[in-house]
């Protein structure tokens, strides 16, 4: 990597072969390293196989096998890469949708060279912000120096992928963490928080407690009582959650209009699979369902969800890679497939369960992750277990037709929140985490889960997720009950979720105020508290690579 941004690793996804070839040519002319893909699913597989193998993704909005927006979500959640959307259609509503889903830019075809030349800025911007988050306020001056004074190419070196580089950087970070001397901010590889089931449950619980329309990262953070978690972590997670919820809500609305139409109809909209899940939704009674979102690269996964669900067993666990540093607004997290439909039709939401689909590999990785939990915590058995109680925790899911985040699940305002969110965070959206799509195949038509949330505690079987190879797919389980039990205990487990244990302190250090000021008025009292995270956790040495994937736990 001689001179930034040369060598930027771009993945282009478009079903139009002519455009794929043209873009390849144009990007090569910019001295970028190009990989092309004409299928969204292939692209996702590729991204998952080569973690840190790409710096940016450019994708068309209309693709036959998967909606570009869904791909956008997956990438954002799982890989947290900047994603640029393209289309021949420049209609404002579409562009807005792209932005809401986390696209950092939206290009109209025909695309000109000059537009492509500048795409590196999205990569750079993201890195800068991650660094900022990690470094925290005290290191701000370092960042200033970095930004203004340092050699661009050095930064590029740091930012650039390369397994060696990142591994090395991580190591450096790990070594440094004791001194809390972060030295070169540019060498920080962003730390990802793995949103384990429990962590997510805590999150959802907090959200429900606060009330969806009043929710804000700081409040959630305070309620969650997870010392090492930063406001940014929560903010970006919240964003995804909202996106998810809005999606569920839409699907719910759609369902509502269909009445008790068999789920297959509903699901067919989004997913290709059979609505097997839907039936399973009944089970849970809504709660379970709502809590779970499967991050599935593809909807079919959900479809095939294992009906055992009704016990609340989620086969897969989707973990959501949370990038703390993401300032990006929180996109609504795709609605988790609600296991249970409050309404009528059972939601097949439980996507993750489906293990069958691509997440074969997931099992092992899931296990891995959970193993962390086990280590520190005995209480957290649930994790490994396949049974997770899904509580109505999913309050955050928009209740069928109504707003999410209320205990009663009727919070209207979800949709309202979105726009305002968008407003505030426009710039953040750009860098935003493209809402991870993969898992959210909640397509779940299980929207209904909202209502179901109240339910009891459906148990999700997370570990059995037979997700194909996607370590990242994890089911997001909203497990309020888990929260109820032992915050402190959970904490330990949650900690493991943090992908870069060594980076945790970095995260802690981040200046929560940094981003949030645009967004949130409260100052994060948490910031200081995070300092006390003391890395005594045994899992620091644990499966680092797994964590890296930014598991998205649903």
């Amino acid at each position: 990597m001689d001179s930034f941004p040369a060598g930027l690793r771009v993945l282009v996804v478009d079903d139009d072969l002519a455009w794929l070839r043209i873009l390849e040519k144009m990007l090569k002319k910019c001295s970028y390293e190009v990989t092309t893909c004409c299928l969204a699913r292939e692209a996702l597989d590729l991204l998952r196989e080569r973690k840190d193998g790409f710096d940016i993704v450019i994708s068309d909005v209309n693709m036959p096998d998967m909606d570009g927006f869904k791909l956008l979500e997956h990438v954002g959640l799982e890989m947290d890469l900047p994603v640029i959307m393209m289309s021949v259609d420049g209609e404002t509503s579409r562009v807005m949708r792209g932005v809401q889903h986390g696209a950092c830019d939206y290009l109209l075809k025909p695309i000109r060279m000059k537009e492509l030349r500048n795409i590196w800025q999205h990569v750079f911007r993201k890195r800068i912000h991650e660094v900022r988050d990690i470094e925290g306020q005290e290191c701000m001056e370092e960042i200033q120096i970095m930004r203004h004074g340092s050699d661009l190419s050095d930064e590029w070196h740091s930012f650039s992928g390369g397994e060696l580089n990142s591994a090395k950087k991580r190591k450096d970070l790990e070594n440094k963490h004791d001194d809390k001397d972060y030295g070169d901010p540019t060498s920080v590889k962003k730390a990802r928080v793995v949103w384990t089931v429990d962590l997510h449950q805590k999150f959802v619980r907090a959200v429900n407690q606060i009330g969806f329309d009043k929710v804000g990262p700081k409040k959630i953070l305070d309620l969650m009582n997870v010392p090492w978690l930063t406001r940014e972590n929560v903010a970006s997670h919240l964003q995804k959650y909202r996106l998810y919820l809005s999606r569920i809500q839409k699907e719910n609305d759609l369902k509502a209009s269909f009445g008790a139409i068999k789920q297959s109809d509903l699901s067919s909209k989004d997913t290709d699979g059979s609505p097997g899940l839907q039936n399973s939704l009944d089970i849970q009674k809504t709660d379970a369902a709502s809590g779970i979102y499967g991050m599935c690269g593809n909807k079919t996964i959900i479809q095939n969800a294992d009906p055992k669900f009704h016990e609340g067993e989620l086969k897969g666990i989707v973990s959501m890679p949370l990038v703390e540093s993401k300032k990006a607004t929180i996109h609504d997290i795709p609605e988790p497939p609600k296991a249970s439909n409050s309404r009528t039709a059972p939601n097949h939401a439980f996507v993750p369960l489906e293990t069958d689909v691509k997440y074969g590999r997931f099992d092992s990785s899931v296990r891995k992750q959970y193993s962390w939990c086990e280590v520190p915590q005995t209480q957290f058995k649930q994790e490994h277990k396949v049974n997770l109680q899904i509580e109505k925790g999913f309050n955050h899911l928009p209740s069928v037709g109504s707003r999410p985040f209320t205990r009663e699940r009727e919070k209207p305002g979800y949709m309202d929140i979105k726009p305002s969110y968008t407003k505030r965070s426009t710039q953040q959206i750009r860098q935003a985490i493209p809402i991870g799509i993969g898992a959210y195949s909640f397509p779940v038509e299980s929207e209904n889960h909202m209502t179901g949330f109240q339910a009891s505690e459906p148990i999700l079987s997370t570990t059995t997720l037979s997700m194909k190879n996607h370590g990242l797919s994890q089911i997001f389980i909203n497990n309020n009950s888990a929260f109820a039990s032992a915050d402190g205990d959970l904490l330990a487990c949650l900690l493991q979720g943090d992908r870069c244990t060594s980076n945790i302190e970095l995260q802690n250090k981040e200046s929560l105020n940094y981003h949030s000021q645009d967004f949130f008025t409260e100052t994060p009292a948490y910031v200081n508290e995070t300092q006390r995270f003391d890395y005594d956790y045994p899992w620091e040495t644990m499966e680092y690579p797994v964590i890296d994937q930014g598991l998205f736990i649903v």
């Binding site: 079903d15 139009d16 072969l17 002519a18 455009w19 070839r21 043209i22 040519k25 144009m26 002319k29 068309d60 209309n62 289309s87 021949v88 259609d89 075809k109 025909p110 000109r112 060279m113």
Partner: protein
């Protein structure tokens, strides 16, 4: 001159110029793109044709195909074909089946006219070598 003809008459727009500029040391690039365009667009046209024979018309499906076709036309810069696509989409949104069918006939005509012109262009280009570009900006 064929070159001027093809651009001046508006068959192709500046996208075509861009493609030529991208050619660099790859002399077959533009032709490759044209081939891909024709492959995709022909397939889509045939799909649309079939869909137009159904009754009642599935406008959303038609719209979907047209969207893809439009995207395809932008790859090579097929301006006239693209205009027909836009027209078709308007009729589609209005639920005007007759309008769609009429426009579609126009579209097919433009599509095949362009094909002939491009074929002639490439043939000529092969003969004279990579010298002139088809459409120089005025």
């Amino acid at each position: 001159m064929l070159h001027e003809n093809i651009c001046e008459k508006g068959f192709l727009d500046e996208q075509f110029v861009q493609l030529e500029e991208l050619q660099d040391d790859d002399p077959n690039f533009v032709e490759e793109i044209a081939t891909l365009f024709y492959r995709d667009s022909s397939r889509l046209i045939s799909n649309i044709e079939q869909a137009l024979e159904k009754s009642p018309l599935d406008f959303s499906k038609l719209d979907n195909y047209m969207h893809q076709l439009k995207g395809s036309t932008t790859s090579i810069g097929a301006r006239r074909v693209k205009n027909e696509c836009t027209q078709f989409t308007d009729y589609c949104n209005a639920g005007n089946g007759e309008g769609c069918k009429r426009t579609f006939q126009q579209l097919k005509k433009e599509h095949s006219t362009l094909k002939k012109k491009l074929e002639a262009y490439f043939q000529l280009a092969r003969q004279i070598g990579p010298v002139e570009t088809a459409c120089r900006p005025k």
